[in-house]
Subunit: 283 residues, 2 copies
């Protein structure tokens, strides 16, 4: 059990961590810092928040385990603020969906600090944003990547892994660069494809889209995601996403050429390969 857990800048994810940790008795005491004063006032009334801190440094001063939950682009500056205030052996993690940039920044920032950083990426989310929509079950049976640096102590890594397991996540420990390559394919590429179906259909008469069946709705559901969050992901994982996009463009172009050339044999192979892959996904 964690004695003092601190959560900084909670949105949907950070507040869900707090609620999940509270419900499961994972931490004795939860301290939260939020950037906006009115959020700090509101958090003081929540049963899953024992202390509201006025500054990031105040929040971490006594903490054993710290979760940084701001938008991915702000994790670096928050790390810089808290690094000098960490107590000996304090473990810091985050919930950012791109990892190699953050881990590189953490390496430099934490060098002179008394704490240790081990990155995390829980693959969980919601169509809603904001701490008010937190769900204590958000991480149940979801993949959570943990991306330790080679220099991280095994016990610190183990503590972070155990934390997410205690929230019922399925933890995968992996190198930060490999993580970014994987999520470029399984998360960022589908988002871009859904967005581009949306922009194309947005140029067609509005009534076309209302005629659609569930296929189009499912295929484009994630196009409704928050644009600001995705700009930051695109910025942080640009190179891996470009590689995945190039590969997708190549495949799609071959498909189109086969259709133009009436190569039904090749098209059947592609349709069957896509089906085989999709049928292999766990439900």
């Amino acid at each position: 059990m964690i004695n003092r857990l601190a959560i900084l800048a909670p949105g949907l994810l950070g507040a869900s961590v707090a609620r999940a940790a509270h419900d499961r008795g994972v931490a004795r005491h939860i301290t939260i810092w939020a950037r906006r004063p009115e959020v700090r006032v509101a958090l003081a009334d929540q049963p899953w928040c024992q202390t509201v801190a006025e500054t990031p440094r105040d929040a971490v001063a006594e903490a054993d385990f710290i979760v940084l939950a701001p938008p991915v682009a702000r994790i670096g500056e928050l790390l810089e603020q808290i690094a000098p205030a960490l107590r000996e052996g304090a473990i810091v993690t985050d919930v950012g969906s791109v990892k190699s940039d953050i881990c590189r920044v953490a390496r430099q920032t934490m060098e002179a600090s008394a704490g240790v950083f081990v990155g995390s990426h829980p693959m969980a989310g919601s169509a809603q944003t904001g701490w008010q929509h937190a769900e204590p079950g958000l991480f149940v049976n979801r993949t959570c990547f943990v991306t330790p640096e080679a220099s991280a102590s095994p016990s610190a890594v183990e503590t972070v892994v155990r934390f997410w397991r205690d929230l019922d996540s399925e933890v995968v420990t992996i190198d930060a660069n490999k993580h970014d390559e994987i999520v470029a394919h399984i998360s960022h590429l589908p988002q871009i494809v859904a967005t581009n179906l949306g922009t194309l259909l947005g140029q067609s008469p509005a009534e076309w889209s209302q005629l659609s069946g569930n296929g189009l709705k499912d295929t484009t559901r994630i196009a409704a995601s928050d644009a600001t969050m995705w700009i930051e992901i695109l910025q942080q994982n640009r190179d891996e996403i470009l590689r995945a996009l190039n590969a997708f463009e190549d495949d799609l172009h071959h498909f189109k050429s086969s259709l133009a050339n009436r190569d039904w044999t090749d098209l059947r192979t592609r349709l069957e390969r896509g089906k085989t892959w999709r049928d292999s996904l766990r439900p």
Copy 2:
């Protein structure tokens, strides 16, 4: 109410038409013909099938309203078989998901016949195939396109429209060519995109895909569709699909260029346009 309804070559869609019509009292008597003898034997035991016919011609001889439900590539040959056997004023429709080819064939085939053809396309389906998986509620609140030729009598069109409305579909009457342009965008393009995400991810290590969240699962759900059905759709709607694919490739390529050039303003506009479109879809 239809006196005698005939359904030819029922799979999931055709048998769902039979069950829906039976449950709602839309037809007094339902006759079914299936190509395979063992299916004919099994159908004879179904409460929603009053007569099993041995041939397509037998099935339609006394019918007022006929639904052709084979795979889209076989509708033409079935039309040729039944055309000489139709009684005066018999109305024939189908459930094919591409319409201009079928309507062109029907124009020629039905010329000397006593019946009239009015094409239909109910936008309904299931991950399952086969008459055994028929669902009487399959068409409820789903779009059903009706694509009459200019020469079709208004009363025949009205009968087909009323038939689908009686199964609780939302009927849209539209020109066959316009139909094919629309479904190329709202149905066939999403299928191709999902298939190509599947073929690309199928080339990655299998464990990557198992790590995915619901986003990838939703975006690729329709990649699991039947390959044979899709080959036929690609064959019948090749030109419109190529046009839609070209437009999608252009959009995607611009997105990629903006990412390569770090044009975050353009990328934000695209993400927001995609979101605006997706948020505008009825649930």
